[in-house]
Amino acid sequence: MTDILNEMATRREQKLKRSLSKRYRQEVVFKAFGVASIVSALLFLVILLWTIFAQGHTAFQTTQVRLSVDLDPVTLGLPDNPTEQDIFRASFGTVLRDAIMAKIPEASSRRERRAVIEFISTGATYDLRDKVIANPELIGQTIEYWALAGDDLNQFNKGNIDRNVDESNRQFKDNQIAWFDKLDANGDIKTTFNTNFFTNGDSRDAEMAGIAGSIVGSFYVLVVTLLLSFPIGVAAAVYLEEFAPKNRVTEIIEININNLAAVPSIVFGLLGLAIFLNVAHLPRSAPVVGGLVLTLMSLPTIIISSRAAIKAVPPSIREAATGMGASKMQVVLQHVLPLAMPGMMTGTIIAMAQALGETAPLLMIGMVAFIVDIPSGPMDAATVLPVQIYTWAENPELGFRENTSGAIIVLLGFLAFMNATAVYLRKRLERRW
């Protein structure tokens, strides 16, 4: 019997051999594409994190300049027996200026003098003032004082300004470098931990700007979000999973939840602006409004993950409880919910991490304002960490660029912590049925 198949079988070996090496080459190439894709994706991740860490780690350090400050009451403009109010108004700027000029007497022209004065941050004035208010007996003495350096000197000291760059392209000029070297040689320059970065609110001066205000703002926003979205999300999930009849309304609710999960975040911002601010007249820039907007955004995530957690509770538990005569509600409250709780909490933490990183909708409701004070409650005007990152990123100054990366590191740290907690919870508490 000779049909085409038999015929084919006879020449198959030879044909196969001919194509085989090409086919294996394709196989290798295909696989290599796969590996290359993964490697490039991971490489992007590494580059992204590396640039941010490289630019940002210096934000946690700051520079101080040693001065010997003559707290002469006359120069300070203080009367005899000054009150606290008097000290508060005293011209500490002048004594600091004199002190830094004393270190670099060779700066003579107006321009040079200004360049030297910029070595010291205006923040040093307030710091010195607070110090003297705390110890009024210092007045009249000459004290050694480590003054916070101005932005340019700070950046130069931390190596963010390259001295080999052509002077015309460099903020920190040649003569400033010479003076800096002189100060440095005398041991008058010190690099210390940047406490301002963690204790201050925003500032116009990069060396004074801190993330405390935005962290507190983020905290209030998250608290509001959590308090609203967790109970509502769990309640909705319980209803949809356990009680909802299979009807049109339920279907519409489910479609709505899925769609809301895909609505761009900025549209939620529009909702917040139009409804919470323009209709309900809630205060602009307030964490409570941010929390409301983020609640609406987080709900789909929480509802979806809570439903999954409820679904994972095996029917046998329900049947056992129902068999004992428990009502549906008792079954749910006493058996299903406690068992589903770890899963729900995991989902909620992940949703909170998303909310913490959210920026766009908060811009819409005015949380982008420049706020120096640390908010003291959820109704105060505030900004949040990601928005702070955004506003700083818009600022071209070198110091702010560094601060931005520093703030990103802090934000990523929080997010890593939250996600790690979620993973830990899932591993630790979630039961496998």
């Binding site: 086919r23 894709s37 509502i232 809301l260 139009a274 920026t359 982008v368």
Partner: protein, 468 residues
């Protein structure tokens, strides 16, 4: 009573209500022979009292909070002399803020009419607070009282309580619908106002976008170009670049992880890819604006100067390429995890069938698995596209503001989301076409992403049915 005190008192009263309800049921059960003659456990009678006392109180408290300030404001403004009534809504808002400041003692120097209004305002606030306390307390007492007399051994307190609880669960799940309605209403309302000034055809098909011209009050509505085509084009350009970056990388990663990788590799790489998805968009924006964009510009300039290519030499600092490429990186895990789901959903039997004939793995993937998973993959790409179109922070920080019609990825373009953000951030004028235009753009964005999402879910569900 101020809010915190009032709340504390209310909570204490409601708890007392629980105790009263519970005790009352036990007491009523005594003559019958103990609590087993009650229809429900005593706790449920207590909870029933809580419901009767607490629920109306909470509702009234919320309503009071919602309408209190509006009512007070209305009454204060109505009490002002004639000349204030004619001011624009915006000016009136400022006046009201001023009155508020005076009332708080922050701004003592003002004209007598405002001083009087501030006094009026203070009084109204005080009356409101007192009235609120009285109303709420009576509601709680009434609730407890009704519960007290309503409780009888034959009352099914548990059913009663559970019905209330069920209703509140339903209410919570209805919030999804209310949110959607809220979005639709908020964007639609302003959009309709916008389309009364600018015809929809001009908005949807116009080639000129320069909303800034309308800044000056005397030109309101008369001028300013609101043709959104350049924005749509810019959005599509950036989204397309993002997809060109993300789709091959995401897809190939998913294929490799699902088909080739050993479990150990898979379990390490998958979470690492997810990290890309967990990084906030503002971080990507920062990276795009300060690292990727200058890098791409420098490379383009170098190419342009070396080879004398005009297009490269003129590369913009804020290129669509930078924003798009970084957005692509952000979307990689999105595509790879969705694609992974659909690829692993292809039944093993198809793989076996192909391998058993002597196909290599890559042949099996390309010729059997990929075609089988195609609908699902298309669905994921549509979802990713919707994501790219709606993404805001990366483009706000890295794409430009110039509304240009160009397909050159090295040029700067603007997008729908950038315009919404820039039009609405900072000081806004109410009712200027500029503000309303942002809502019209928001409406467009909402409709488009919803449509894409809808299509994608349809495609994916159809695909799932095929193998379930």
């Amino acid at each position: 009573m101020q809010t915190p005190t009032l709340l504390t008192v209310l909570v204490i009263l409601v708890l007392a209500g629980y105790w009263i309800g519970r005790q009352r049921s036990i007491q009523l059960a005594q003559p019958a022979g103990g609590i087993r003659f009650l229809r429900s456990l005593p706790n449920y009678y207590g909870l029933m009292a809580v419901v009767w006392a607490g629920v109306p109180a909470v509702l009234v408290l919320l309503l009071w909070g919602a309408f209190d300030s509006v009512l007070v404001r209305g009454m204060v403004m109505a009490g002002l002399p004639e000349q204030f009534q004619q001011l624009t809504a915006e000016r009136q808002g400022l006046i009201f803020n001023q009155i508020g400041n005076i009332a708080r003692g922050a701004d003592p120097s003002a004209d007598p009419a405002l001083l009087a209004a501030a006094e009026h305002y203070k009084n109204l606030l005080q009356i409101s607070v007192v009235a609120r306390s009285i109303v709420l307390l009576s509601i709680v007492f009434a609730g407890i009282g009704i519960a007290y007399f309503y409780i009888k051994p034959e009352v099914r307190a548990r059913e009663h309580f559970e019905a209330v609880l069920r209703t509140s669960l339903l209410t919570c799940s209805l919030i999804a619908i209310f949110t959607t309605l809220g979005i639709v209403m908020s964007v639609l309302w302003e959009s309709i106002k916008f389309f009364r000034i600018i015809p929809p055809t001009e908005f949807l098909f116009g080639l000129q976008w320069s909303p800034q011209i309308a800044l000056r009050a005397d030109q309101q509505g008369a001028s300013g170009a609101f043709g959104a085509i350049p924005l749509f084009a810019g959005t599509l350009l950036i989204a397309a670049i993002a997809l060109i970056v993300a789709v091959p990388i995401g897809l190939m990663s998913a294929i490799y992880l699902a088909e080739y990788a050993k479990p150990k590799v898979r379990n390490t790489v998958k979470p690492l890819l997810e990290v890309l998805a967990g990084i906030p968009t503002v971080v990507y924006g920062f990276f795009a604006a300060l690292t990727a964009a200058p890098f791409i510009r420098d490379v383009a300039h170098w190419i342009g100067n070396t080879f004398g290519w005009e297009v490269f030499a003129n590369a913009s600092a804020q290129s669509a390429l930078a924003a798009g490429a970084v957005m692509g990186i952000m979307i990689i895990p999105f595509i790879s995890s969705l694609a992974d789901d659909v690829i692993t959903a292809v039944p093993r039997s198809l793989r076996d069938g192909s391998l058993a004939i002597g196909a290599t793995r890559s042949e099996t993937i390309r010729k059997v698995i990929f075609p089988a998973a195609l609908p699902g993959i298309v669905g994921s790409i549509i979802l990713a596209a919707s994501r790219a179109i709606g993404e805001t922070m990366i483009v706000v920080m890295a794409a430009g503001l110039s509304a240009k019609l160009t397909a050159n990825p090295l040029d700067s373009v603007t997008t729908v989301t950038v315009q919404i953000a820039t039009l609405l951030v900072g000081d806004q004028e109410f009712d200027s076409p500029k503000t309303m235009a942002a809502f019209a753009l928001g409406l467009t964005l909402f409709v488009v992403t919803l449509g894409l999402n809808f299509i994608a879910l349809k495609v994916v569900n159809k695909y799932r049915e095929q193998y379930d």
